[in-house]
């Protein structure tokens, strides 16, 4: 009996110890690995695709070598990144593909996240076939003819339908609804991660096999596996409002940056720099190719780009 009593007392007192000393705001906690050697630290979130790695690599290089910050990076998907940004776990998200729901909640209602301006890159999602296939069958690039070619895209996974390959679950996609609403004889197969999707596309391309895939630009893989977009019914403002009834193409989205609201106010030079950070699709692709294709470390790739584009990034520092 005595043991149980002591256990209860111990539990109660440790609880009191934990809770007794005032409020602890979780939003004010940084990573335990930050500021390790007494430097000012900025934490950037990296999304799982290489373009996002390129943004972060270049920003990190300039923050570290020109402005004297220490930079921590955290790999996290977009939606959780919004949450982490709101809590101050990360200071900036450099490439967002449009999340109106999150924007409403955090930027407009809670005001814990501040818009950081455009990245300068325009993103576009679409359906793609490899260019070697488009050359063989020029009419394949219109969705109306896709059913005619469904047999070409059959795989064991899609059974007796054609396979439309989708990627990571974190990406914005309406493909299931599109296939249904456009009455296409296709099965959406989710690769589950971008790594798996890219690996599969490269294997297909090596053997010049036909494939149809959800893909997006800017993306470094276009330089390795040239692809042609399949035309879907044109995008009109609001045609994707009801996710069940979508029957149109994806929009062209100017990619946005977001900063933690406190960091945006008090982040000093780092925040000012990240707000001005703005480059082009070509710039981003240059760095991405170095990372993904030449297998350079993001740091080396960033250094190479920074060394040869001084006029571009000088403007971000003024």
């Amino acid at each position: 009996m005595r043991i149980r009593k002591t256990a209860v007392i111990a539990a109660a007192s440790s609880l009191a110890l934990l809770t007794g000393c005032g409020a602890a705001d979780m939003t004010k906690q940084a990573s335990p690995f930050a500021n390790a050697q007494g430097a000012k630290t900025v934490t950037l979130s990296v999304q799982s695709w290489v373009g996002a790695q390129s943004n972060v690599a270049v920003a990190q290089y300039i923050l570290e070598h020109e402005l004297g910050y220490r930079v921590d990076t955290v790999q996290v998907d977009e939606v959780p990144a919004w949450d982490a940004l709101s809590q101050g776990r990360v200071d900036a998200l450099l490439e967002d593909w449009g999340h109106p729901e999150q924007e409403q909640r955090y930027v407009k209602d809670k005001k814990t996240i501040a818009a950081g301006g455009g990245l300068g890159v325009t993103g576009h999602i679409g359906w793609f076939v490899p260019t070697y296939l488009a050359k063989q069958h020029p009419d394949i690039t219109n969705w109306k003819n896709l059913n005619k070619y469904a047999d070409l895209f059959r795989t064991p996974e899609s059974g007796n339908k054609g396979q439309l390959m989708d990627g990571s679950p974190s990406y914005v996609t309406n493909d299931k609804a599109l296939v249904k609403n456009l009455k296409l004889d296709y099965q959406v197969v989710f690769a589950g991660s971008e790594a798996a999707q890219i690996t599969q596309m490269k294997q297909f391309a090596k053997e010049k096999k036909p494939f149809l895939t959800y893909w997006y630009s800017p993306q470094w893989l276009f330089k390795k596996v040239p692809m042609t977009e399949v035309k879907l019914p044109p995008y009109k403002e609001g045609c994707d409002a009801d996710p069940e009834k979508v029957a149109c193409a994806y929009p062209h989205t100017p990619l946005q940056k977001y900063l933690n609201a406190d960091f945006a106010k008090k982040g000093g030079k780092a925040a000012a720099f990240l707000k001005k950070f703005r480059w082009t699709t070509e710039d981003q692709n240059e760095v991405s190719l170095m990372i993904a294709d030449k297998k350079m470390t993001p740091e080396d790739a960033a250094k190479k780009w920074v060394d040869s584009h001084e006029s571009t990034w000088r403007k971000w520092l003024s």
Partner: protein
């Protein structure tokens, strides 16, 4: 066996019904004959009837919104979770800064000297080599981050686990309450509870540490309770007769008697915690796991391997050192052991101070060896040559295609075509024949819960993948296990290979698996086989080796051939071990269903990944719960009566 003798065969029944299994099936058939027409008349449908599902998506979405909106204002968060999170951050930071301050030379020296004192010279050299290898791979700082996180997580798990184990070991009521919880935790895939933890604590180290503690504490609790309950009754009576109080008995007799189990618990906890290192990276744990995860994004197997090797090395070293410590416990204490520790301490201080004075706290950049490029070239070569067009046997892509069309599709379609009550009946029959009516009831309820959650179809899809993967794992695992049990040399050669595959983070081999088998369910099955195979091989080998050598000799002297010996003596006698292998195979395969979702496995695994990526609690949590139910069902179905009985002892 007890259950068999407890029910003497009833007289007057036909001979067939004397068989226990047939009796059970007969009763079940009787129950089915009454219930099925009723159920079928009421809810006539092939899949789980929609009238019997409960939609959890709205309350879950509401709960998720409430947490996000109140996280920075509600007292529960401010005064409880906030402090928990704070303590974790401060603790991890303290350990991390200490590790950095000691420097690479100091950390290596500490590791080696502790290993020397606990486990001898050979392991000390191994430990030092492992730490240096982490540095050489250019992973020193991430290794220290992971180590800091592990130290805190393991300490917390040990404290929590030991307290729970103490409670369960001392009180029968606590034991009855905790046992089903711990049983469930064992089949709970780690991914399933990342989402709720993240929702409360946000991305980052606190969430990662807590997820690790939830995952790693149960074995400690289990083994502590086992150790306390297993203490020799006579010794305890002797201590009691000396007039000691309950507390004295606990401290002087029961806990010291249980130290072997306690150390085994520590060992298990460390291994579980390390296996979470990479999974926790998905929610922002940083360290080695994050490097693996980032390498995955740029499809860079070599870089992923460079970060994966330190995890394997840490795991193997920690496993061996704690294992050796456990074995040494029984032995006589060495003379001058105090002096040995003193030497060790002096050595550490000397090395650390030397490192500091030399200004070499960080691992020097020029000492880093890049392995990424050659590894990538090797993987490219392999996948290019094996993928397709291999003469006679066909490429791996063809195998994967055939496996999907001829095995996975029929099994999945077959399961999904079965009426829902038929699935429940099959589960009940299997579980009852192998186990008891209790296990059968739990299994049926778990399966029914899946239907109620409204994920019947994807769950059967996942089940078909699990069954296919387990079948292949068992065929290969038993074959290799039997071979290893018969040849010492093969067993020794296999040991490091099994070690590597058991501890290598699964993210590292995702890309090669896709490159070989394409995207879909086939690579998901392949990844599961790679993960579950080592355990099955180990258990099989051990089970066969434990067969009494005198029985083997006797059968040998009677002129049995080696094949006859195996089939008629060894395998029947090792039956409990083989059943355990089946059980473990199932649990392990299910644990990587979520990983399968990352390579196109679809179904429940994909839903969990989707929930995490989109912050969608409804999808992710329901799919996670369904995986747990599947795990419970499969565990109970394959749980032989003997194991139950042994646990109760």
């Amino acid at each position: 066996m007890a259950t068999v003798t407890a029910n003497p065969p009833r007289l007057g029944l036909p001979g067939l019904l004397k068989n226990r299994a047939v009796q059970k099936l007969f009763l079940l058939a009787l129950a089915a004959a009454i219930l099925v027409p009723l159920a079928n008349a009421r809810w006539a449908s092939g899949t789980w009837p929609s009238a019997l599902t409960v939609d959890f998506s709205e309350p879950l979405a509401k709960a998720s919104d409430w947490i996000i909106d109140n996280r920075d204002s509600h007292p529960l968060f401010l005064y409880f979770f906030g402090h928990v999170s704070n303590v974790v951050v401060i603790a991890v930071r303290a350990v991390y800064l200490t590790l950095l301050a000691v420097g690479w030379a100091g950390v290596t020296a500490i590791g080696a000297l502790v290993a020397w004192r606990v486990a001898g010279v050979k392991l000390a050299l191994g430990t030092a080599a492992a730490f240096l290898a982490c540095g050489l791979l250019g992973m020193w700082v991430p290794t220290m981050q992971t180590l800091a996180l592990m130290v805190v997580a393991v300490l917390a798990s040990v404290v929590v686990g030991a307290l729970l184990g103490l409670a369960a070991g001392l009180s029968d009521r606590m034991d009855r309450m905790l046992r089903p919880v711990l049983d469930t935790m064992q089949v709970l895939p780690a991914f399933a509870y990342l989402l709720p933890v993240v929702l409360v604590f946000g991305i980052g180290v606190p969430a990662a540490v807590l997820a690790t503690v939830i995952y790693a504490a149960p074995p400690m609790a289990r083994l502590t309770s086992l150790g306390l309950r297993g203490a020799d009754k006579e010794v305890l009576e002797a201590v009691e007769s000396l007039g000691s109080t309950a507390r004295q008995r606990l401290l002087t007799a029961r806990i010291p008697l249980a130290r072997k189990e306690l150390l085994l618990g520590l060992n298990q906890t460390i291994m579980m915690a390390l296996s979470m290192a990479v999974i926790a990276a998905v929610i922002g744990a940083g360290g080695l796991g994050d490097r693996v995860y980032q390498a995955l994004a740029s499809v860079d197997v070599g870089a992923a391997l460079a970060a994966g090797i330190p995890i394997v090395l840490l795991a193997v070293v920690l496993d061996r050192v704690t294992g050796a410590a456990g074995e040494k416990l029984g032995a006589e204490p060495e003379p001058h052991s105090g002096r040995g520790w003193l030497f060790a301490l002096a050595g550490v201080v000397a090395v650390a101070v030397a490192g500091r004075l030399a200004g070499r706290l960080d691992w020097p950049d020029s000492w880093v060896v890049g392995i990424a490029e050659p590894v990538n070239r090797a993987v490219d070569w392999m996948t290019a040559h094996l993928y397709s067009g291999v003469p006679v046997v066909g490429g791996t892509a063809d195998w994967a295609g055939h496996f999907t069309t001829w095995v996975l599709d029929p099994v999945r379609d077959g399961l999904q075509a079965l009426p829902w009550w038929a699935v429940l009946l099959i589960v009940a029959a299997l579980a009852w024949v192998i186990g008891t009516w209790r296990t059968a009831l739990t299994a049926v309820l778990a399966m029914a819960a899946i239907g109620v959650l409204g994920v019947w179809k994807p769950s059967l899809d996942t089940l078909s993948q699990v069954l296919a993967a387990v079948a292949v794992t068992l065929v290969v695992g038993f074959a290799v296990g039997i071979a290893a049990a018969r040849s010492d040399r093969l067993e020794r050669a296999l040991r490091p290979v099994l070690d590597v595959f058991q501890t290598m983070p699964q993210f590292v081999y995702l890309i090669p698996v896709v490159a070989l088998f394409g995207v879909g369910r086939a690579p998901a099955v392949a990844a599961a086989i790679v993960y579950a195979l080592p355990a099955v091989v180990r258990i099989t080998t051990q089970g066969l080796r434990q067969v009494d050598p005198s029985v083997m000799e006797a059968s040998g002297s009677l002129g049995a051939t080696s094949w006859q010996q195996l089939r008629q003596v060894q395998l029947p006698l090792a039956r409990p071990a083989l059943l355990l292998a089946v059980n473990q195979g199932l649990v392990l395969v299910l644990a990587v269903v979520v990983i399968g979702g990352l390579v196109g496995g679809g179904a429940l695994g994909y839903d969990v990944v989707f929930g995490l990526a989109q912050g969608d609690l409804a999808t992710g949590l329901v799919a996670g719960a369904a995986i747990v139910c599947l795990g419970l069902m499969l565990d109970r179905v394959t749980q032989p009566t003997e194991r139950r009985a042994k646990k109760g002892a």
